[in-house]
Subunit: 638 residues, 2 copies
């Protein structure tokens, strides 16, 4: 049986045929790497995720973490399979897959690192969350923390000995982080190595992996405000600083000291993603008295008032990670539905109603193929978008010229809200279709697809809601640097259009994959797709101008979520056209299996251009009309 986690063939297509990951081996940073080393890492990820992550995915959902009393405060109990899986992950050195060799890392490019993540997340998103929060935390601290903080906290995290969290939200401050009220008072006493320390008091909400016994220590990165001389907190984001607050204080030699005053106040019980403990944490409420005094001890990261700026790095990384999670949950659901559709007999063709004949596998029904093809278009489009973005991270970091690095940075910034949001919308839809393909069975917990649907529904909420990303795209990314981000993307899109127009598919004499007539038809189709893409993008440009010509930010931004969705569909159409062009060029000389693979890519692209891209015009027309239906609506009319 084929893997139902991810398609290795598709991963190879994306990495090597499309995104040219092997070319990264030419860069100084990746000079010890090549396709073989990448594949070896992916082999490891595929094996560990298959053997140790996927098998307890359902069990984690059914026996979710629960709070128990112990050690003077609440603790969290988690099924043992989670620690076994995470230990194997760490033992394989994967926690530092992207880090420098000198940090015992593998120094892998981000695009490959994301493929590794893809396997673990698709196999078991809840267990994988403990890992990716730790890596995200460690990367932030590596960038902004002191040498001492790196030695004391980052190194044990990359070694898998400590795990990390991100503590941003509070019960009264979620999307509006400027309203946090956690206080960090300077402690007159210096820390063990003379560093300045603070005493934190407050509550943090939605803290994934906030409490557990899976690692020796938990390193919390906490946003808090340092009071002014009048004891008051500065309103707004400028008052926010970043602190590292460990669960256990750490000695010079790395050994653990006493318990810090960060304690679990309660667990949130979610619809999905149940295997990741999600906590309300109390800081400094007095359960423990670290170094004999009240308040949780925290160490300032970076400069005071720069907390959100320090977190931005993490947030952008986390947004790509959310898009990846959404895409691969859709992907694994699709593979499950495909497997089911090939094996479940039900019904007959419309033209063959003889009930004495055996039933057909449901994949033979056109409507089932529609649902599978839609899933394929969503999940391979979504994963493509995420890996393209990851590849831009590598360009931004390692491209040879500053211009190339800046260009990649602009593209990445422009695409980030889409990379986060598009899969979070459409790959949940893919999960819904996976349930639908399974019929009643799909609605039961005896099968896997309902869990993917529940797990995936989180992704439009965390790391900035759908609406927040609409505002980020239309209100910020579009205008940033005088529209340079927007123009950089436009240039890339038009480059693809030109490339299609300049291409021909040439049948090969030694292969029956493509007749001359088929080749002509294929290029005609792709050229038509390219024209549709170009026209759609031109409409995006017009509509963007119209929105900003409104001269009233309330009107400009009123329907920002629709803008996000429309641009997202155009972007994914562009991703599909790139994949299809490659498939067309590789088809003539392909083996029989590969030819089927490429035909699938071409058909999914056709699906996207015939079924999905045309949805965009209604959205753009709505935006262009500066529709005020939602803006005018009054509370008392509901």
């Amino acid at each position: 049986m084929q893997s139902t986690i991810l398609s290795r063939r598709d991963i190879a297509f994306m990495l090597y045929e499309w995104l040219d990951a092997q070319a990264l081996g030419q860069r100084a940073r990746f000079q010890d790497h090549n396709r073989e080393t990448f594949d070896a890492a992916i082999d490891t990820a595929e094996q560990i995720s298959t053997e140790l992550f996927a098998p307890h995915n359902k069990k984690s959902d059914q026996q979710e973490p629960h709070a128990i009393a112990g050690d003077g405060c609440l603790r969290v109990q988690i099924i043992p399979e989670v620690k076994t899986a995470l230990d194997a992950f760490s033992a394989a050195g994967l926690m530092a897959a992207g880090q420098d060799f000198e940090r015992d890392g593998m120094q892998l490019p981000t695009v490959v690192e994301k493929v590794l993540s893809a396997y673990f997340t698709a196999a078991n998103v809840s267990t994988a969350a403990y890992i990716f929060l730790t890596i995200s935390n460690a990367n932030t601290l590596l960038k902004h923390g002191s040498a001492l903080q790196v030695r004391r906290f980052v190194e044990p995290m990359f070694a898998g000995k400590f795990f990390g969290t991100m503590c941003l939200s509070e019960p009264q401050a979620g999307s509006s982080l400027s309203d946090i009220t956690t206080r960090a008072e300077p402690d007159p006493v210096a820390g063990p190595e003379g560093e300045r320390q603070f005493r934190l008091r407050g509550n943090k909400m939605w803290i994934s992996a906030g409490e557990h016994d899976l690692a020796g220590n938990i390193v919390h990165l906490v946003l808090a405000k340092i009071p002014g001389p009048d004891g008051k907190l500065v309103p707004g984001v400028k008052g926010i600083s970043l602190f590292v607050v460990p669960k256990f204080l750490v000695n010079d030699d790395g050994s653990l000291r006493e318990r810090n005053d960060v304690v679990l106040a309660g667990l949130n019980h979610k619809m999905g993603n149940r295997g990741t403990s999600n906590c309300l944490l109390n800081f400094g409420e007095g359960k423990f008295k670290p170094e004999g005094k009240g308040g949780a001890i925290g160490y300032l990261v970076g400069q005071p008032g720069q907390g959100l700026a320090c977190m931005f790095h993490m947030m952008n990384e986390a947004r790509i990670a959310v898009g990846l999670g959404a895409a691969v949950l859709g992907y694994t659901g699709y593979l499950h539905a495909l497997d089911y559709a090939r094996n479940r007999p039900q019904g007959r063709h419309p033209a063959q109603k003889d009930p004495a004949q055996p039933q057909l596998p449901i994949i033979e029904h056109t409507d089932v193929r529609r649902m599978l093809l839609a899933q394929k278009a969503y999940v391979e489009g979504g994963l493509g978008l995420v890996l393209y973005s990851a590849r831009l991270v590598d360009e931004q970091r390692t491209a040879e010229t500053p211009e190339a690095r800046e260009h990649a940075g602009r593209l990445l910034d422009f695409l980030t809200p889409i990379t986060k949001s598009w899969p979070s919308q459409w790959c949940v839809e893919a999960n819904s279709l996976a349930i639908q393909v399974h019929g009643g069975y799909g609605y039961t917990r005896e099968y896997n697809v309902e869990q993917f649907y529940r797990d995936n529904r989180l992704n439009a909420i965390h790391e900035g809601t759908h609406g927040i990303h609409g505002l980020d795209l239309l209100g910020r990314k579009v205008t940033l640097q005088d529209g340079a981000l927007f123009k950089s993307f436009a240039g890339e899109l038009r480059k693809t259009v030109r490339k299609v127009r300049g291409s021909v598919a040439v049948p090969r004499e030694d292969s029956a994959n493509l007749t001359v007539a088929q080749a002509t038809q294929l290029m005609a189709d792709l050229t038509a797709h390219a024209a549709a893409l170009e026209a759609a993008w031109q409409r995006v440009e017009q509509v963007t101008q119209t929105l900003y010509a409104a001269g009233d930010m309330n009107k400009t931004l009123a329907n920002a979520s629709v803008y996000l969705e429309a641009v997202g569909h155009v972007v994914v159409a562009w991703i599909w056209l790139q994949q299809a062009l490659l498939a067309a060029s590789h088809l003539p000389g392909a083996s029989a299996d590969d030819a089927d693979f490429y035909r699938g890519k071409l058909q999914a692209c056709r699906y996207f251009f015939h079924w999905e891209l045309p949805k965009v015009e209604a959205q753009l027309a709505l935006l262009e009309s500066l529709d005020t239906t939602t803006l005018d609506m009054q509370d008392r009319w509901f």
Copy 2:
């Protein structure tokens, strides 16, 4: 606090201002009824659903029915609140709400009966399912069963003493009922009152309420095949007969006799709708030997081979019930989201970023209003469609002329696949938006909306999947009676369009609700909506012709699901235009509260016409192009 189950104001609007339910009091069957008697019944439903159904909705989900050993076979244990609620429902006489006075019924019109159902279903869909399956079963048996069967089974069901089920699917036969293999062998021994009886053997899957101790007996309506003289089952639907198979055999005097051989083989564990036991049942496997022999005793209902025909009545009723359930789960989710949005402070206006100012209730954010308005448009549109269909049932049964009854029947038949499917798609979307409005809180089981989302996802699957209804609409309803159903509907739609064009809104001197300028604008808006509706319908007509001109049923029906969705959106736009026209005409003289209510209706209608109806053209263009993307897709290309 306002009810978060349903809006009583909206119910009154739909029933009395729009669907003119009070006029039914003029018909002989309903002559003892008027608005007061209807309202009294609705008061009862609102009270019992609020006090006894809603409070255990979450508990039923968290402590779902489970199987325990007992009485020689598996039994099902259900939390006690379910029986308390159901007993109160029966005690209020509601099980027979639609039945004749002489059967101790209330002889209420169907449209009012559906409003009662709406309350119970919105409050607790899982507990309400036990009721509506029983009513559906009893109605079927009342129509097709013998006098003896009515006395023995139907009367105790309407009295709430027995509950009922529908046993259609088998593990290998879901959508394809022609493939059932349950056998019914004639029993040489007659039953206690001399009736012919059969011995059934087979397995039935997905049987909601298939086993429980909530009522004294369970009356199963079972599809099975009577073997031919060669012992073989006739393939196809023509071999299917209908049987009534009680859990306990029943004596002449209505008392229970011995256990029949229908036993629980296992429970299905669902994503939602967990409170309704959903069973795999074994018939005649030998756990019990009723009347000393093997095989479950069943009594034939109607004629042999007419099983599916007998079930059609029930299935059409069940389809309206599914649409209703989907609409009201969306509705209650919307009301929960509205309540949350009014009370949750978060963030500030784009133009007012001063972080020292207090945060706003999130309903002040345009994107939150978008999500609430979308929900309102979906759920009030969906409920409107369902109640309109229910009103057609009353017309079909009681209109004064045969022509009017036939006309209503044609409309009802045409609308049924849409009434079932449209709310099952869009009111799940409403539930997703309700989660989104709640942010992270909405994703937790501490709030209610995630359960509505899970519960509602069932509705696109049962009582015919989404795809099956696409085939029913395009492949059957559109062509039936030489297109008479389609034409009847077209006539109604155009009647509404003409009505809008012939209307004016006249401001009243004694009211400030509407200035002359506002009235002019309002009618211009409605006239524009009417033109858009007419144009969309004309496109539906063109495209329908094109699809049938294809001359190849595979091509005609390939994209039937899209046809269902496009026509559904046009139909709901029509429902909204009817509601808006009334709101416009009632607005001038309305009280302040009513004026807000009508403005809300008008704004939701505007939302539907500006945001939703324009989505249809892309679907119609796809259909018109006879797109073969899904038809051409090959299994091996996936």
